[in-house]
C-alpha cells in the first residue's frame, strides 16, 4: 500500500512539476515491464526477449530517454571520464592562452572522443599541482592528464606516490615516479641548433627559461650541437626569456643593450620567436639575413607568419593520443612507460 501511495503522489507531482527528468522506472512502467528488463534491454543483454528489447529500445528513443550516467557509475563503480588539468600561474593569474597548450587541448578532446571518454577540464594553481589529486579523490574520473609540468617535479612525484593515475605532458626526469609524455626536447634543441650552424651561423642566442625541464632539455641539445661543431658556449648568449607576453621583446632588448653580437636565435617557443622577430625588425635587423630565427612547437600560425617560421615541430595530434594511451594503460595494467614523441625540423624562410 505504501508503494501505491507513493506512486500516486509521484504521478501528481510529475504532472504539476514542470518537467521531471525521465528515468528508467518510467520507461519500465510504459513498457509494462520491470526496470531490470529495461536495464538489460538498454545494455544489449541477450537475456531479454528480442521483441521486448526492440520495443523498449524504441520507446526509449522516442522519449529521448538517456540513462543517468552518474547513477550507473555509482552502481558499477566505474567511470569513463578523464580529468584534464591545465595549471595556471597564480602570480600573473595568467589566462589559458598559449597556442600550443590550447592546441594540445584540442588534440586531447579529439583523442578522448575517439576512445569514448569524456573530458573534465579544470584549471589549478601551478604552485599547488597536488590539488590535482582532489579531483581524482572525488571519484569522478578514472585518471588525470596534466598539461604542463612547470617546475613542480616534486609535487608530481608525490601524486604518483599516492597512486593517483596521472600522466603529465612534459620532460622525463631522473627519479621520476609519474609518467610523462613529451617531445624529444634534447634532439629537438639539437636539430634546431645544428640547422643554424650548418647555414654558417656562429653566434647563436638561446631564449628560454631553463628552470623549466623541457626548456632545460632543449638547452642541452643546443649545447650538444655547439660542442659537436667545436664552438664554445658563450653564456652571454643565453637569455632566460619567459613564455609570457613580451618575453621576446625583453630578451632582444637585453642582448642589444649589452651589445652582444649574434647572428642567429633559437627561441623555445614559436610565440617567443615571433615576438623576438618583431623586436628585431623594430631595431632594423633583417630576418633571416642578419639574424636567422628558429622557434619551437610549430603552432598553426607559424607557417603563416612573416617570414614563415622555421621551427621544431611537436606532433600535436600524436600528443593527444599518446597522453590518452599512456593514461589508459596506467589505469588498466597499473603501469605505463614514458613516451617520447619525435620532433621534426620545419625549415621555413626565417632561417634561410
Amino acid at each position: 500500500m505504501k508503494a501505491k501511495t507513493d506512486t500516486t503522489t509521484d504521478t501528481i507531482k510529475s504532472a504539476s512539476k514542470e518537467q521531471r527528468r525521465l528515468q528508467m522506472a518510467d520507461i519500465a512502467r510504459l513498457a509494462g515491464v520491470s526496470t531490470s528488463t529495461v536495464s538489460r534491454a538498454l545494455s544489449g543483454s541477450t537475456l531479454v526477449n528480442d521483441e521486448t528489447r526492440q520495443r523498449i529500445a524504441e520507446l526509449a528513443r522516442s522519449l529521448k530517454y538517456s540513462i543517468n550516467i552518474d547513477a550507473r557509475n555509482l552502481r558499477l563503480k566505474q567511470t569513463r571520464t578523464i580529468a584534464v588539468v591545465v595549471p595556471f600561474d597564480s602570480e600573473t593569474r595568467q589566462h589559458l592562452s598559449d597556442p600550443f597548450f590550447l592546441g594540445i587541448l584540442g588534440s586531447l578532446a579529439d583523442a578522448l572522443t575517439d576512445r569514448g571518454f569524456d573530458m573534465l577540464l579544470s584549471r589549478i594553481d601551478a604552485e599547488h599541482l597536488d590539488n590535482a589529486a582532489q579531483i581524482f579523490d572525488t571519484g569522478r574520473v578514472l585518471g588525470v592528464i596534466l598539461i604542463g609540468q612547470w617546475r613542480h617535479h616534486d609535487q608530481l612525484n608525490q601524486l604518483a606516490a599516492r597512486h593517483v593515475p596521472i600522466v603529465v605532458w612534459g620532460a622525463q626526469l631522473p627519479q621520476q615516479l609519474y609518467v610523462t609524455v613529451g617531445s624529444d626536447n634534447v634532439t629537438g634543441g639539437q636539430k634546431a641548433t645544428e640547422h643554424l650552424l650548418q647555414s654558417g651561423r656562429k653566434r647563436i642566442a638561446f631564449f628560454g627559461d631553463t628552470q623549466l625541464p623541457e626548456v632545460a632539455q632543449r638547452y642541452e641539445g643546443y649545447c650538444k650541437a655547439l660542442a659537436q661543431h667545436g664552438i664554445a658556449l658563450d653564456e652571454k648568449l643565453v637569455v632566460p626569456a619567459s613564455f609570457i607576453e613580451e618575453g621576446g621583446k625583453l630578451a632582444v632588448a637585453e642582448l642589444c643593450n649589452r651589445k652582444i653580437s649574434f647572428d642567429a636565435l633559437f627561441a623555445c617557443s614559436d610565440l617567443l620567436a615571433m615576438t623576438s622577430i618583431n623586436s628585431l625588425r623594430e631595431k632594423n635587423y633583417r630576418v633571416p639575413d642578419d639574424v636567422a630565427v628558429v622557434g619551437y612547437d610549430d603552432i598553426e600560425l607559424a607557417r603563416y607568419f612573416h617570414p614563415p617560421l622555421t621551427t621544431v615541430r611537436q606532433p600535436m595530434a600524436q600528443a593527444g593520443l599518446a597522453l590518452v594511451d599512456a593514461l589508459l594503460s596506467l589505469t588498466e595494467d597499473g603501469n605505463s612507460e614514458a613516451r617520447l614523441l619525435p620532433t621534426e625540423l620545419m625549415v621555413r624562410a626565417s632561417s634561410v
Copy 2:
C-alpha cells in the same frame, strides 16, 4: 549480526585489496561516529558539536578524503558541472584548432572555475547539434554551452523547445528560441568597413561564408557602411571564403584570376586575413599600400603578425563570463536574454 559480519568482511577486504577508495563510512568508523555526523561535519552544519566537527575535519584532511561527488549529486539531485560542446565538421573531420574558438574555451574554463563549476568538454558532429541534448539527458550537467552556431539554427531551436538549458556562441536570429551570446557582428562589420572607407579605399573586398549567421551579420554591416558612403555594392568583390585551411589563398586567387581590382579587404576572421596577406604578398601586392586589410577576432597573434593586423576585437574574456552568466540565469530563473558583446576596432599597420 548481519551488519557485524559485513563489517568484518569489509575490513578484511580493505586490508587485502590494494587500495579501496576512502569513503565516509571509513571516516565515521575512525572517528567513532556515524556517517550522518561525518556528513554534517563536512558540510559545515551547525547541528554538530564544534569539537566533533573539528576532529572530523582534521581526520578527513589528514587522510585526504574527498567526498564522492557523484553519490552526493545523485542524492541531492543537483550538479555543478556544465557541458561545453564544440562542434566538429564531419566532412573535413576538422580538428579543434581555430585559435578563436580555442581562446573562448580558455576563457570559459576561467569563468567556470571562478564560479565554482566544472566543465565537461565534448565534441559533436556539427550536422547533429541536437546530439548535444543527450549529454544533458544523462543528467550529469546543469546545462550546455555550445561554441559555434554553424548553419543549424533549426536544430538549436528544437533543443530549446525540448527545454534543454543551452546557450550558444553565435548570432542572434529572428524566431530564435535559444539564447545566444555573441559580439555585435553588424556593428563590427560596419566599423571595419567604415575604417577602410575613411582611409580612402573604394574597392573593398569581403571574404567570408555568408551562410554562417555571424558572417552574414558582418556582411550586413559591410553593406551598411558602403551605403552610408554612397558606394554601390559590387557583388564581384564578395568572396565566400571558408574558415578552413587555405581559405585566404583561394579567395585571393579568385579575385586575381577574375581580374577584379580591389584596394582593401575585410576578412571575417584573423586567420583568413593572415592567409590572405600571405597570398597577396606572393602576388607582389603590398599591404597596406596596395591593399589595406582588416580581420576579425583579434586573436592573440594578430598583433604579432607582420604587418600587425588591424582587426575587429571580440572581447574574449568577457565572452566566457557572458556565456556562463547567461546559462546560469537560464537554469535559475528559467529564462535568460541574448547578450551582445561590444566590438572594438584595433587599428594596426595592416590598414594604414
